[in-house]
């Protein structure tokens, strides 16, 4: 196998890794702040896809405006999910919060399947392509990477430069102390859940500009998010971004050698191996 054949798919995979990382960022943020593993992550990614699809095919809205709309809807939806399903069990055991978010998963999938059916959809946009040698970079992929980087940077700016962002980190670190200092911790948890959901929906929205999808497609990306999050260390945002690139690159390279259908298998193996050998993630635990 020559490097020449490997390079295009490696680059393609790496670029996709940014979008995967964005989804994983949402999952890891929610876990890092409130120790809740959000099992509604996949369906929310799918909702992001359908938000762009409906706006585009129903109302002719530019898909990238659709991405923005998906992010805003995600924020509101996440806050709502927090208050309806998560807040009441936030101090319960992990199994209880798992079941709570899983029930949200079932509800979204159930309702959305009735509305959208499971037939495949796609969004037809062409932004041209950039060619250098045998490497082709589609415009849509380039924009998706740029948006993902921008969103990740905005998240870091928010968490480290603004008062609500710092308050979320304070609540994540010591909820009781945050309350003592006057921080409305419940509000911060709801906000964090909203942002995590917005990230998942944004990621789904971007994926919708790249590939065709169904309402069940979220599951695939949910699995990837879990692998990435475990790889990067549960609750570690930087780890999620790096993990996203690793999984994206791996996927790109793997598909040169093995059938695409085998990729999830490899991802599962990595998932289990990391859990067994390095449970704190390859990047180590957050300080």
């Amino acid at each position: 196998m020559s490097l020449e054949a490997l390079l295009p798919s490696a680059i393609d995979g790496l670029m996709l890794g940014f979008v995967y990382g964005l989804a994983a960022l949402g999952l890891t943020l929610i876990f890092g702040v409130m120790k809740v593993i959000n099992l509604s992550h996949g369906p929310i990614i799918a909702l992001g896809m359908f938000a762009v699809f409906i706006l585009f095919s129903g109302f002719g809205v530019n898909p990238y405006l659709g991405v923005l709309a998906a992010a805003l809807v995600g924020l509101l939806l996440g806050v709502a999910i927090y208050f309806v399903a998560v807040d009441r069990v936030i101090n319960a055991t992990e199994l209880t919060t798992l079941l709570a978010t899983f029930s949200v998963n079932l509800m979204i999938i159930g309702v959305a399947t009735v509305i959208f059916t499971t037939s495949p959809r796609s969004i037809d946009i062409d932004l041209g392509a950039l060619r250098a040698g045998n490497v082709t970079i589609l415009g849509t992929h380039g924009v998706a990477v740029a948006v993902a980087i921008l969103v990740a940077a905005a998240l870091y700016g928010f968490l480290f430069r603004t008062r609500p962002g710092k308050s979320i980190r304070a609540v994540a670190n010591n909820r009781a102390a945050a309350e003592l200092m006057g921080i409305d911790s419940r509000r911060m948890l709801a906000l964090a859940f909203g942002i995590g959901t917005a990230l998942a929906m944004t990621s789904g929205a971007l994926l919708a500009t790249l590939f065709s999808f169904t309402i069940l497609s979220g599951g695939t990306y949910e699995l990837k998010s879990f692998v990435i999050v475990v790889l990067g260390g549960l609750g570690n945002p930087t780890g999620a971004l790096v993990g996203g690139l690793v999984i994206g690159l791996l996927e790109g390279v793997l598909t040169v050698f093995i059938p695409v259908a085998w990729v999830p298998v490899v991802e599962y193996v990595i998932f289990v191996a990391v859990l067994l050998l390095r449970p704190a993630g390859l990047l180590g635990a957050r300080a």
Partner: protein, 236 residues
């Protein structure tokens, strides 16, 4: 100046009752101390006052307003602030960020910069370590930060739970100097302190808490002279 009245508080953990009708009054601008042996329920009382633990019975009145059922952050907004036992810093945030979080109440935000300068004046060590993560500070520095963070909220009533724990004798002296200074500024304070000698010396009023009940109460000077207090808490 603000006053606080705690009336016949009962509370505990799960089924286990710890406080059995404790009543405490903090006079406006006064420094009050609560003595009690390990496990007497001092921390439990403070946690119940700020709302980290629910009061089973009894009331907490802030300037005659019943605040018993408010959550801790609502009480902090009203100026009722606890510097908790064991520091409870935001270990993954920097020193400066910890201070910023201290100034969350609305009345404290506008003057945050000035208050930061003020607490850096009190604790120059913190100024040198602004960008360091709180979790990497030495024990003494962490205690300073916990106190400084409490001051950032511009409290109307400030309660300390074992503030000298882990401090060197010199830093303990500094701490009491700061408490005296706050007292001169007429801040209403409650002090729970293992260093009973020094606590009684700076306080106006004192209570003794035994197995969840107030057993002795009076002006600090008088309490200091009591035979039972001298034997049990001053080791004389």
């Amino acid at each position: 100046m603000t006053s606080l009245a705690v009336r016949s508080i009962e509370s505990g953990y799960g089924e286990v009752q710890i406080l059995w009708g404790a009543s405490v009054e903090l006079g406006p601008g006064k420094l009050t101390t609560i003595l009690g042996s390990n496990g007497a329920g001092k921390t439990t009382l403070l946690r119940t006052i700020v709302g980290l633990l629910p009061a089973w019975k009894g009331n907490v009145l802030l300037d005659d307003r019943d605040v018993t059922r408010l959550s801790p952050h609502e009480k902090a907004e009203l100026g009722l602030v606890l510097v908790p036992e064991g520091r409870q810093l935001f270990s993954t945030l920097t020193v400066l960020e910890n201070l910023e979080m201290g100034s969350t109440p609305k009345h404290a935000r506008a003057t945050m910069r000035a208050t930061i300068d003020q607490v850096f004046g009190l604790f120059p060590r913190l100024a040198e370590r602004q960008t360091q993560l709180a979790g990497t500070l030495s024990g003494g520095e962490q205690q300073m930060l916990a106190i400084a963070r409490g001051l950032m909220s511009k409290p109307r009533i400030l309660m300390f739970d074992e503030p000298s724990l882990g401090l060197s004798p010199l830093l303990t002296m500094n701490l009491f100097e700061i408490i005296r200074r706050l007292k001169r500024e007429s801040l209403t304070m409650l002090l729970v302190e293992q260093n009973v000698q020094m606590a009684l010396a700076v306080s106006d009023h004192a209570y003794v808490l035994e197995r969840g009940r107030i057993t002795i109460e009076g002006p600090a000077r008088e309490v200091r002279g009591m035979e039972q207090v001298r034997k049990s808490y001053l080791g004389l």
